[in-house]
């Protein structure tokens, strides 16, 4: 009787164990694998050394660091960390969109003494955030994707200048110009820098107003999080110089991280519709501004040195028409001029924007087609040609853009 009970119990146990193991083992996601490389934006460029990998990881950790009042956040700010605005290193969301104000023309920001150029729209508990001063024009900027920035950083000034055509000498209606700006003193110009009246060619940001990734990173810490550094010791809340709240090393680590994040990997390039879309992209002259290929010059990071890559930008400013003229600008750009955004990674935007598209400089376009139709100014011709395409051709073009 006793043995029978034991056997029955053992039988129950083995059956239950078998069922549990079957459920566990049959589940393919038992130890979830990495998503396909081409479907994510984070990851390193090829060819990093072990030392560079370590530095990348330090930068990655700094990029995800969340600041608090104790570690220097604010007093007023836009976000508490870099990663808050660049989820998965991709484009930002309307909830992290920032506002710049106070520069109505190319002659400078006239509201610098009233909190310009960036609105810190959030504040630590007990404090009030900044308000846009009366009479100041403004524009909203959706955070861009971070990937592939190292490649853009090491394009030579000469190559950028070679793409510009300020007087439209070739008569194609496209006349890109660089954003010439007097750069901050902490920046060491590139060895091959081209200087014009003491101004340098800037290339990062919606208006192309940041010279390099150090400039961009210092600005982001200061203007987005209210973190002062030796590079920019001015507290955005008081307007006074205060002690640095972040080390130079950490900022340089973040710069290295941004430089060595891989470029987005294009997908479905052998798909016939994608190929057709690529041809149409050239045919309707999108490629005149969204330059398919650029190359880097020398870089101390071997993986970035003398590389050809496909960002689909010329890093120049273009007149985008009155529809996109917010009345605000930076550097020598006109209010209606915007730096051509890179299109690589466009198809992955939804993976960092909560499953939706928020395109153009302020996220006003909710689909790629909407974004195309919002183009004006120098892009009017291309827009008209797009509108004249058949629905199948339009789909092919959009499929190509989604493959980038």
């Amino acid at each position: 009787m006793y043995e029978k009970r034991i056997l029955k119990g053992m039988e129950k146990f083995l059956i239950s164990l078998f069922i549990v193991l079957c459920v566990v083992i049959s589940c393919k996601k038992i130890l979830p694998g990495a998503p396909e490389d081409a479907t994510v934006l984070d990851g390193t460029i090829d060819g990093l050394t072990m030392e560079e990998n370590q530095r990348f990881l330090k930068g990655d950790a700094a990029f995800t660091e969340v600041f608090t009042a104790e570690t220097g956040l604010g007093t007023t700010f836009v976000a508490t960390s870099c990663i808050s605005c660049h989820a998965g290193d991709g484009k930002g969301h309307p909830s992290t969109t920032l506002t710049r104000f106070g520069q109505p023309d190319e002659f400078g920001n006239i509201f610098m003494d009233q909190g310009g150029p960036q609105l810190q729209n959030r504040a630590l508990p007990g404090y009030m955030p900044e308000q846009i001063p009366a009479g100041a024009t403004f524009s909203k900027f959706t955070p861009p994707a971070n990937t592939g920035l190292g490649f853009l950083d090491f394009v030579s000034d000469a190559d950028i200048l070679a793409l510009s055509d300020p007087d439209d000498l070739n008569g194609d209606g496209i006349s890109g110009v660089p954003n010439w700006i007097v750069i901050p003193g902490y920046i060491t110009p590139r060895p091959d820098a081209i200087v014009q009246n003491g101004k340098h060619i800037c290339r990062f940001g919606k208006k192309g107003a940041a010279y390099n990734l150090l400039n961009q990173t210092v600005n982001a810490y200061n203007q987005d999080m209210g973190i002062t550094s030796t590079y920019n010791p001015v507290d955005v809340y008081t307007g006074q110089e205060i002690d640095p709240e972040i080390s130079n090393q950490k900022i340089q680590d973040v710069v290295f991280y941004l430089q060595t994040l891989k470029a987005p990997v294009a997908r479905n390039q052998e798909d016939s519709e994608v190929k057709q879309g690529k041809a149409l992209f050239a045919q309707i002259n999108c490629a005149a501004c969204h330059t398919p290929k650029l190359k880097t010059g020398f870089s101390p990071i071997k993986g970035l040195s003398y590389k050809e890559f496909s960002p689909y930008t010329d890093l120049l400013l273009h007149d985008m028409g009155p529809g996109l003229d917010d009345g605000y600008t930076e550097g020598s750009a006109k209010t209606y001029e915007w730096r051509t955004p890179a299109l690589w990674g466009l198809g992955l935007s939804q993976s960092s924007q909560g499953g939706k598209y928020y395109l153009m400089h302020d996220g006003r376009a909710h689909s790629i087609e909407e974004a195309i139709l919002m183009h004006g100014g120098e892009a009017s011709g291309s827009k008209a040609m797009y509108q004249a395409l058949s629905s199948g051709e339009k789909m092919a073009l959009i499929k190509f853009l989604e493959s980038l």
Partner: protein
């Protein structure tokens, strides 16, 4: 520091006596004649008494191996000694008891007094408790001893939403009574409170456990106003125990040196817990669900939510209860835990879309209990965590093998 000294002293004292004759220790059996509720958990533990000493000592150790992968990335194999907890209890006289619980976590890097109170019995329905008390929110916070659970990880809702093990200096009353199959108990305390860190922390979300990192909470209430805690629980021998609990108060520093520096902001937490064992099939069900409401300034970042909810349900099925491998009353169980937490319930101001920031997890488990004091556990956890925006979730799979035992 003083606690470290006291404990080193105590250990040396006990060890030196034990060296004389270890059989002087006698195990104080749990009193199984009394009906226990979750509120009795602090006393419902095995203790060792030393001779005729009025002091009893107890505790438990938890250790495990784990291997986990998140989106294809693993930290490799990990051996963990998560915690060593020591209880000291003393019956000062018939109506006056002292009990303390000290926890050493991460190899002693973190030492916390989780509980150290004096209980004065005036009447079964009216007892006074003072000292460092475990806030009676939900059931897990009070009833969290590792050997009582079939899972190596503590419930996420109880550790990362509710701040188990959350204790504070405070005073209050408790009591219980029973009639036939029914028992009812209550607890009511005023204790130390949360602080600004619950919305100013490196977790980048409203995170009540952040307040645990402030050791000054045992000396000073950040807001100057106490946290109100209350729980009422009803137990029926057949139907099980149902508890409803609340804690709330002003958490932020709104005045300093006589000056008003901020608005008063409240945190309010409600929890429901239930546990039962179905008599015919011996299945045990343990469940807890909680809601957290935190006033966050509208001008602060939306990363820090004003509302959270979440909970867990454990289902435990004994499949073998008999003599095994020389243990007379060994039990083999199959179990499963389901849990869910939403750290930011609401919608984005800019788009009106849902704010995600949630997690769900399922953890099947096999546990072996050679006796009532010890459990060996094999767990698998599958977890899906979605960020604030609702981007593709991070997927985690994890195997764990470990034990937890009272000593």
């Amino acid at each position: 520091m003083i606690y470290r000294f006291l404990f080193v002293y105590l250990f040396i004292s006990l060890a030196s006596q034990a060296q004389v004759d270890s059989t002087l220790f006698r195990r104080v059996p749990k009193d199984t004649t009394k009906n226990a509720m979750n509120m009795d958990a602090v006393y419902n533990r095995p203790f060792l008494a030393l001779g005729k000493s009025p002091v009893a000592i107890g505790g438990y150790l938890e250790s495990n191996w784990q291997y986990g992968v998140t989106d294809g990335i693993t930290e490799g194999h990990q051996f963990q000694a998560r915690r060593l907890t020591v209880f000291l209890a003393s019956k000062i006289n018939r109506r006056l008891k002292f009990l303390s619980e000290i926890e050493f976590e991460e190899g002693g890097r973190e030492i916390a007094i989780e509980f150290a109170s004096m209980d004065l019995e005036l009447h079964p329905l009216l007892n006074f408790r003072g000292g460092i008390v475990m806030n009676p929110i939900g059931a897990f916070n009070q009833n969290h001893d590792g050997p009582k659970w079939e899972f190596i990880d503590r419930p996420i809702s109880a550790t990362q939403m509710l701040p188990a093990t959350w204790s504070n200096t405070g005073f209050g009353i408790f009591g219980k009574t029973f009639h036939k199959s029914w028992m009812i108990g209550y607890e009511l305390y005023l204790t130390g409170n949360f602080d600004n860190s619950i919305i100013e922390n490196t977790e980048n979300k409203t995170f009540l456990p952040a307040a645990k990192r402030n050791p000054e909470r045992f000396e000073e209430i950040n807001s100057g106003l106490p946290l109100m805690n209350g729980k009422i629980a009803v137990r029926n021998r057949k139907a099980g125990e149902l508890g409803v609990s609340y804690m709330g108060g002003v958490y932020n520093k709104f005045q300093d040196d006589g000056l008003i520096i901020d608005s008063r902001r409240r945190v309010d937490v409600f929890a429901v817990d239930y546990n039962t064992t179905i008599p015919t099939i011996n299945t045990t069900i343990i469940a807890e669900w909680a809601w957290v409401f935190v006033q966050v300034p509208a001008t602060y970042t939306q990363q820090f939510g004003t509302k959270q909810y979440g909970g867990f349900i454990d289902i435990i099925q004994p499949i073998l209860s008999r003599s095994m491998l020389g243990w007379e009353k060994a039990t083999l169980n199959l179990a499963c835990r389901l849990e869910y937490v939403d750290w930011n319930v609401g919608t984005f101001t800019e788009t009106g879309d849902n704010i995600y920031e949630h997690l769900w997890s399922i953890a099947p488990a096999i546990s072996f209990r050679p006796n009532a004091q010890t459990v060996f556990r094999f767990n698998y956890r599958y977890q899906q965590q979605t960020d604030l925006l609702g981007n593709p979730p991070a997927l985690t799979g994890m195997f764990q093998l470990g034990f937890s035992t009272y000593f």
